[in-house]
């Protein structure tokens, strides 16, 4: 195991975050604050509570998940796409580094960034609403598993993408609708039965529901099923990456 290489890639990626502190940290904080002002305060003041929790507090886990997903996919994809784009990938491919070590460096950094921002949002949220965490350990498990899984997903997109347009396609076009329709801002019990059934095909529902359960013990689906689903996405992502590494797909011709 080439730990020195994993560390180098990880630190190199984290250094980019420090360099772009403004975009990396400040902008998600501002975005989330806006959500709180619009949904939590303006609209939320007219909604008494959802399943016994104040609306502002209810949407907090969903908002954290929304940011976590976007950040992890974004960081995970740009991390590997950028060297491909500039050509500096030659160095990583010609270094004595196994693909798993490359993955560990890039995905580790992307997940770390996502987690840091997730925690910052949680702290930000605590200024707006009363946060109560019923199962802190499970909350961390959900947070870490989601960060890792979606950083892996980002990595896949980064390897696949041949242009910046393709790179942005998934985070811009697919993630927001899935998050908005995944129960971030409402309980799916509020939906008509048909849309409730449809929602169960939305992977984000499981993430948000499980994560919210760790806060308030209210869930749209059984938290164990949520955990199982995240585990399933994790395995799927790892399998796809395994296949990519084995075939050299768009990395090593």
């Amino acid at each position: 195991m080439n730990f020195e290489a994993v560390k180098s890639i990880y630190m190199f990626e984290m250094a980019r975050m420090r360099r772009t502190l403004l975009q990396s940290v400040i902008s998600p904080v501002i975005t989330t604050s806006l959500y709180f002002i619009v949904f939590g305060t303006a609209i939320g003041s007219r909604i008494q509570s959802v399943e016994g929790v104040s609306y502002g507090a209810f949407i907090t886990p969903g908002l954290i998940m929304l940011t976590l997903l976007t950040q992890c996919i974004g960081n995970g994809s740009i991390g590997i796409y950028f060297p491909k784009f500039t050509g500096t990938i030659y160095e990583i491919l010609s270094a004595p580094v196994a693909m798993t070590e490359i993955l560990l460096g890039y995905v580790g950094a992307a997940a770390s960034k996502g987690l840091i921002i997730g925690v910052i949002i949680l702290i930000t949220a605590s200024f707006f609403v009363d946060i109560r965490i019923a199962h802190p350990f499970m909350m961390v498990v959900f947070l870490v598993l989601t960060a890792v899984t979606f950083s892996l997903f980002g990595f896949i997109i980064g390897v696949w993408a041949k242009s910046f347009e393709q790179l942005n396609l998934v985070p811009m076009l697919i993630v927001p609708p899935l998050t908005f329709l995944g129960g971030s801002f409402y309980s799916i019990n509020m939906l008509p039965p048909f849309w409730q059934a449809v929602s169960h095909f939305n992977p984000v529902l499981y993430l948000v529901s499980g994560f919210r359960w760790s806060f308030y013990e209210i869930a749209d689906v059984n938290p164990l099923i949520s955990l199982g689903m995240i585990g399933l996405f994790l395995v799927i992502c790892l399998s796809v990456i395994g296949w990519m590494f084995k075939t050299g797909y768009r990395l090593r011709s």
Binding site: A5, S94, P96
Partner: protein, 308 residues
């Protein structure tokens, strides 16, 4: 001594069906400087990329330091430093960070003193805290060399190192190469500038159309394929060559004012002396004479031209 790089029956066909290498055999000795010549698209970069691990071979094998480049990639890649053809750099990094990163990726513990000496050798020390995008093209080329040297490779690949580089840097670069060679580093370079190969290489290989056309000691190559030409500037124009001179390989220039004679430099007897005697007999006088030896470039053009 076993070769440090041994390429056997190497082929590469890319996904789009392009056959970049069609069975290349090549042994590179430890400590030598090998120049690979060839036109664009000849397969030079593909060959280097396979040895360095960037491209997977379709068939055949490559051993570096006795290890297979696919199976034992850790051992082989640790030995190799690569300076790519394109100026691919992390534009937003500082020189110091990007060179230190290279060392880390190769699994080596940080060594600021070593990085310092590498940067100083390449006249990059004053730029160490500059972002790479602020540097000129030549400076970026130095950064790429510094990155390749940051992990103390035993084998250095320079892919078209002097493309777009000014005279100063070229001279400095060859100084670095000489220093590395003195330390026993094996150096493989590809180049379009044939004078360069002529000047610094021990051996020269010529690649075209995915095949290694020849590989030979530079001196032997020059001897074997080097032709000499004698040019005689005549005092009086000639309209035709006298029949008595037909035994010699002679051509008359268009204006009839010069005679050109091609001969092998290694001819035991040499045809120059008898030719001059024959000319005197025919009463043909000349006012000047010059000889020219073919350069590696002529040899190269002749070789590649023949096969094309």
């Amino acid at each position: 001594m076993a070769p440090i790089v041994s390429v056997q029956k190497l082929t590469k066909t890319y996904g789009n069906g392009f056959e970049a290498l069609k069975g290349v055999d090549l042994d590179i000795e430890e400590g030598e400087i090998l120049a690979l010549l060839g036109p664009n698209g000849a397969g030079k970069t593909t060959l280097i990329s396979i040895i360095c691990g960037i491209v997977n071979p379709s068939s055949g094998s490559v051993l570096v330091g006795g290890h297979d480049v696919v199976k034992d990639f850790r051992q082989t890649r640790s030995l190799i430093g690569l300076v790519p053809q394109e100026l691919t750099t992390d534009q937003f990094e500082t020189v110091w960070n990007t060179v230190s990163f290279s060392r880390g990726v190769y699994g080596k513990k940080p060594d600021p003193a070593l990085i310092e000496s590498v940067l100083k050798d390449l006249s990059l020390w004053s730029k160490k805290d500059n972002m790479i995008r602020e540097l000129s093209g030549g400076m970026k080329r130095r950064v790429l060399i510094a990155k390749a040297l940051s992990h103390e490779p035993k084998i250095l690949f320079l892919d078209e190192p002097t493309a777009g580089v000014d005279v100063n840097l070229r001279r400095e670069m060859w100084q670095v190469v000489e220093k590395l060679r003195a330390n026993g580093v094996t150096i493989i370079l590809t180049t379009h500038y044939i004078e360069e190969a002529e000047e610094i290489a021990d051996r020269v290989g010529v690649i075209n159309g995915g095949q290694l056309l020849l590989i030979e000691k530079k001196t032997a190559l020059m001897k074997k394929l080097g032709r000499k030409q004698l040019r005689l500037e005549l005092s009086e124009p000639l309209t035709a060559l006298p029949a008595s001179l037909s035994a010699y390989d002679l051509t008359l220039s268009q204006d009839g004012m010069a005679l050109l004679h091609d001969y092998q430099s290694e001819d035991g007897q040499g045809s120059v002396v008898p030719l001059l005697a024959a000319l005197a007999q025919e009463n043909i006088h000349f006012r000047d004479l010059s000889t020219r030896q073919s350069s590696l470039e002529d040899i190269f053009v002749a070789l590649v031209g023949d096969k094309a």
